[in-house]
Assembly symmetry: C2
Homo-oligomer: 146 residues x 2
Amino acid sequence: MNLSLPSETIFHAIESTIKDYRKFAQKNISEKIKDMTIDQGMVLLFLNEHPELTQKEIAELVFKDNASMTRMINTMVEKKHLKRSINSKDRRRYIIEITDKGKDVLKTLPPIIHQNRNSSLKGITKNELNQLEIILNKIRTNCAKT
Amino acid sequence: MNLSLPSETIFHAIESTIKDYRKFAQKNISEKIKDMTIDQGMVLLFLNEHPELTQKEIAELVFKDNASMTRMINTMVEKKHLKRSINSKDRRRYIIEITDKGKDVLKTLPPIIHQNRNSSLKGITKNELNQLEIILNKIRTNCAKT
DNA sequence: TACATATAATTGATATATCAATTATATTTG
DNA sequence: CAAATATAATTGATATATCAATTATATGTA
């Protein structure tokens, strides 16, 4: 069986790219904000735009499962970026609020993220980005077909 | 600050794609092989092609850090897929050998991986794959620049 | 040679990933 | 309405991710 090495596949390139970007982005965030991971930042951004999101919905948006999201939000509540309170309209859910400390992060974070995206996409044309997205979507569709 | 939602960025698409592929691939592996993750399978493949690899080198190839690799190999040794022995030429390293049980996995695994790659890349042209790789490399280069 | 430095691997601490099972509450349906 | 089913969140168990500190061994250099 002459299987080419995993390192030669496109999946290697995809995975390596996202990991490099994550490291790059995390480094730039950590320089400015203490105790804030990319994913925690994403949770803040999503909640800021859509305060009514449930944990389950946030989890889907940031590609985590419910269990991970429960624990992530626990940590963020301990760190005082978020506050959980009972949702009397549906007592299975929580209302998740961004605290003042969380709002401070939201002042600092967006420009860093912008900067991260801009620098990591420098020299790449709109057309290339479209291409990229189209191809990635093809792969995703293929993987979804049971 | 009108930051577009994270879900609208290309990084969302990249991350989502690799996660979908991983789930898809893991599912197909699990159907045929017990107790074998994609990454453990990759370790077997790499070691099979390059038996002299150190843990550190394997770690780089599969994008893990040394600590994770130590623990991954611990697990694989416990599960009897691998065997560690002392490398008398450099006593800081180990010689890592694939056991018979590991070799059995290597008989079953490659066709599954081939199949996974083929089905997930169906309908995508060579040219598109090249494009994809070029663009991803640009991003990686940008992220590497300090 | 002796000491400083480098390297490979491990360990500890904490966070996250994942699956399965469980709890509490809502909703649907007979 | 009552029972069955569905949903949101949690918990437990185990693996992996990540960083910093540590151990053991090699290598470079005065």
